[in-house]
Amino acid sequence: MTGFVSFDRSIGWALAAALLGFAATPLRAETIKVTIDNFTFTPAEVTVKAGDTVTWTNHDDIPHTVVSAGKYRSKTLDTDDSFSFTFAASGDYKYFCSLHPHMTGLVKVE
């Protein structure tokens, strides 16, 4: 039963940490996930709100990058690596993989 007690306790701490974090950021800020499988960004187009964060995760056995010319550029993402970018301003952010440039995607920020 000790196991359950410590389990509850860690949940409590996690909740407290989440609430603190929640209070410090705008209520509507969200994290949107884009996956990379089979040399494809999925979904290829996402629409988010200013302040939202997009997280890309590479599931391929080959490294990829996420590059939006002049805006943001990830490090090389090996298998299961992720990259996040928080979009402060509205606009259309086209991006691509600089290693496999036929891989393209779009983040629309409202």
Partner: protein, 314 residues
């Protein structure tokens, strides 16, 4: 199936495709006056005979040192096997070219391992980079190690036995939605490099990504490759050697022979036969039949150039 009827006007598309199928089992290609002729299947002894005079050099490609995924958990081991094959060749080749993706992630340790193994061949190696060789944060390791005496991102030329060799870089400054890229600076350098050279000089161009369009849906081609070929069209014998697609492909267009070498690390699917060009997992027993090296033989008198693809096994 016969390859003896390739006439002076060159091989038909169908025949080229037939030969592509056979290339992996040891078809000996020759280049005479810019028109390839196939001499049919050869064994190692015959190949050795062909190499007894003139220039013989090797091509290895896509060693991806550091790759450890299911398609080949031991890419370093298969590179060692390739180098052991080279060491065992009956006639020592003049040198070797490596058409890029030496490392998988451009880590110093990966380049170190690659150098340690490849140097055991005791051959001079002329490198061009693949996109996997420019992944370090400062993009400096490749240039530090392999870029001495090169221009731009690492292009250069040299001569050997009357053949002019040109190493090109088509893996930098890639544009969204596009293919491989040479860029204006490199094309200008190429034109200068060829200026005043006799049109009968045999030319060998090597670069990582195929210079011709193999399969644009997978990015297998070079955006401005056609411009490089335009510069080369006056030459009677042009051979273009590439890697990147981890399989043997050959195409002949006029006086130009295009050829891609196998990887020593892992195979990739034939164009359009899989959801993506990613590493292809095959049964263990089959892996070594899809990895390998290429040997290229040039005979000055006969203006012949032969490409022999040898798998690691099978």
């Amino acid at each position: 199936m016969s390859f003896d009827d390739h006439d002076a006007r060159g091989a038909s598309r169908r025949k080229v495709l037939e030969c592509m199928t056979w290339a992996g089992t040891g078809v000996l290609w020759t280049l005479s006056g810019g028109v390839p002729r196939s001499l049919g299947l050869v064994d190692a002894a015959r190949a050795a005979e062909q190499q007894a005079s003139g220039l013989t050099f090797l091509q290895i490609s896509d060693s991806h040192v550091g790759f450890d995924k299911p398609a080949n958990p031991n890419a370093i081991g298969t590179l060692e096997e390739a180098v052991n094959r080279i060491k065992a060749m009956p006639v020592k080749p003049a040198f070797m070219i490596h058409t890029g993706d030496i490392s998988h992630l451009s880590k110093a340790a990966e380049f170190d391992d690659a150098d340690r193994i490849i140097s055991q061949s005791r051959l001079d190696v002329h490198y061009v980079p693949g996109e996997h060789d420019f992944l370090d944060e400062e993009v400096k390791l490749y240039k530090e190690r392999y870029g001495k005496g090169t221009r731009g991102a690492g292009w250069y030329s040299f001569d050997a036995s009357g053949v002019h060799f040109i190493g090109l870089v088509n893996v930098v400054d890639l544009k969204a939605g596009g293919l491989g890229n040479l860029g204006a600076d490199q094309l200008e350098w190429l034109a200068q490099d060829l200026k005043g050279r006799s049109r009968s000089t045999p030319i060998v161009v090597f670069a990582h990504i195929p210079l011709w369009t193999v399969y644009p849906q997978w990015g297998w081609g070079t955006e401005d490759g056609g411009r490089a070929l335009e510069t080369l069209k006056e030459f009677g014998s042009v051979t273009v050697l590439n890697g990147h697609i981890h399989q043997v492909m050959q195409k002949v267009e006029g006086n130009v022979t295009f050829h891609t070498a196998r990887s020593t690390a892992f195979p990739q699917p034939a164009p359009g036969t899989a959801p993506s060009p990613g590493p292809m997992k095959v049964e263990d027993a089959k892996l070594r039949s899809l990895l390998g090296i290429a040997s290229i033989d040039f005979k000055p008198g006969a203006e012949r150039l032969a490409i022999i693809d040898t798998p690691l096994a099978g």
